[in-house]
Amino acid sequence: MMRRSPWLWVAGFFAYAFLYAPLVVVIAYSFNDSRLNAEWVGFTLDWYRKLFRNEEMLLAARNSLLIALVASAVSTVLGTMAGFALYRYRTRLLPVLVLAPIAIPEILMGVSLLLFFVLVGIALGLVSIMLSHIAFCIGFVAIVVRARLEGLDESLTEAARDLGATPWQAFRLVTLPLIMPGVVAGALMAFTLSIDDFVITFFTSGVGATTLPLQIYTMVKISVTPEVNAVSTLLMVLTLALILIASRLSPGSLRGR
């Protein structure tokens, strides 16, 4: 039986409205026939046309997507492991190392990563950005996964082991499906953090490895054109499509059932 009182519907709807109010503005102005998106002038597709001719911006969008996909994939695996270790074992160092990257000011992390990459001779580029993003995403995944594990029925895993499953099989076939919503939530957060990061990316990027937030941030310093709204809208649609296609290809892959 689904317990969804009308009040829950109202509150939920309000939250969605709050989330989407600015998004409506962002999308609307990508069709606005004025260079400064301040006043509504009229409908146009010019900004999308212009966008498809702007190689710099498209390349930056592709870089962003690539970095976010790799960073969220790797940090989801590492973060899930960390979440497990936090839940199952007593460790002293790991909890601090998981929390600290979330707590530390981004600008300090950016500067120190840049100093570090220069020191050990890692070239600045897409890879250095990915390595940095993974470092600050792990904690977010670990915390969600750990919260999901809390209070989970351990007897199921035990039972699988008693029936002769190897630890890996028990994890793969019993535990993982149970914690999947936590893992997916963590992965979504990691993806979101990575695709929108400015500060750390600014410091760890190298020649020709620009991401969309860098591009947009410097653009709005002098003049902000609705091209930026157009590319934001496009990126959102593209990401959504990627995820929907991936989940359609294997039913339930989002939740691992």
């Binding site: 707590a103 915390i143 937030p213 934001s232």
Partner: protein
């Protein structure tokens, strides 16, 4: 029970890789800046040389001056407390807004849940700056929303309000950008609750509110704590939202830290402020976790 060495092997197998990664790509780099908090700023920028030479030999050029400067001046501490307050309000507002949403999603039919979760996070794949500029339009004096609000207020005889560039705008912006980090952990937790528990509570005569307050909410506490941590910690050091929406009143400690690394080119002092911020945030999170564990036992 499996033998102890076996357990330890699993512990390292599972915990080792993330630990190693964070040691190399987080702890090692940050250590450079921990040391930097004891160094002097360079004349033009960056750091002054770590080692200096004079007639008596080579010396490490380290100092406690940066820490003294922090503790001797209430200005910086007061900004820490202001930021703490803003972050706490943000967490509460996020929780109030997120809980019903997470509950609604977790109690919807399975086939809709994924889509509903995606809808929560979708707005955050557009660009941060562009979303905030959209809020500036919505909260600005010429917007339809503010016009309608002031119309209603005038009807009640209350004066027109200004929303943009106020502390209210800062809190609203902070709640907005952190909302998914509350909704997702809450959902991940609520989704696993067994509806049979609620049926049992109902059979025992509990009304809707009692069922929520005595069954659902206590069970969801790990999710609440996780969400609170994921919102509080980043909100504590926030600088972009106060910069963009805060007007002349909104400055937080994160802005001062950013200022040290950019305008003032004072990396050592920026490191000191960062260290204090990080230690405070991690300690508060650890305390909360400890309290959470106590209250559950």
């Amino acid at each position: 029970m499996r033998p102890g060495w076996h357990m330890r092997a699993y512990k390292w197998l599972i915990g080792g890789p993330p630990l190693l990664y964070l040691l190399v790509f987080f702890a090692a780099p940050v250590l450079i800046m921990v040391v930097a908090s004891f160094r002097f700023p360079g004349e033009f920028g960056g750091l002054s040389p770590l080692v200096y030479e004079d007639e008596t030999g080579r010396h490490l050029d380290l100092t406690l001056e940066n820490y003294q400067r922090f503790f001797a001046d209430l200005l910086y501490l007061s900004l820490f407390f202001k930021s703490l307050l803003y972050a706490a309000i943000t967490v509460l507002a996020c929780l109030l807004l997120s809980y019903p949403l997470a509950l609604l999603i977790s109690r919807s039919p399975k086939k809709y849940r994924d889509v509903m979760v995606l809808l929560v996070i979708l707005p955050f794949w557009s660009n941060f700056l562009i979303r905030i500029y959209a809020w500036i339009l919505i909260l600005g004096p010429q917007s339809v929303f503010v016009g309608a609000l002031n119309g209603v207020l005038a009807w009640f005889g209350a004066g027109p309000v200004t929303l943009l560039y106020t502390p209210f705008a800062v809190v609203l912006g902070m709640v907005y950008v952190h909302l998914p980090f509350m909704v997702l952990p809450l959902y991940a937790n609520l989704e696993k609750h067994d509806p049979a528990l609620l049926d049992a509570a109902q059979d025992l005569g509990a009304n809707a509110w009692e069922r929520f307050w005595r069954v659902t909410f206590p069970l969801s506490l790990p999710g609440v704590y996780a969400g609170a941590a994921l919102v509080f910690i980043p909100a504590f050091g926030m600088f972009a939202i106060p910069d963009l929406l805060g007007g002349t009143e909104g400055i937080m400690i994160g802005n001062v830290i950013k200022q040290q690394f950019l305008d003032s080119r004072d990396w050592p002092f920026g490191s000191v402020l960062s260290m204090v911020l990080t230690v405070m945030a991690v300690l508060l999170a650890a305390l909360a976790a400890l309290y959470a564990r106590r209250s559950r036992q």
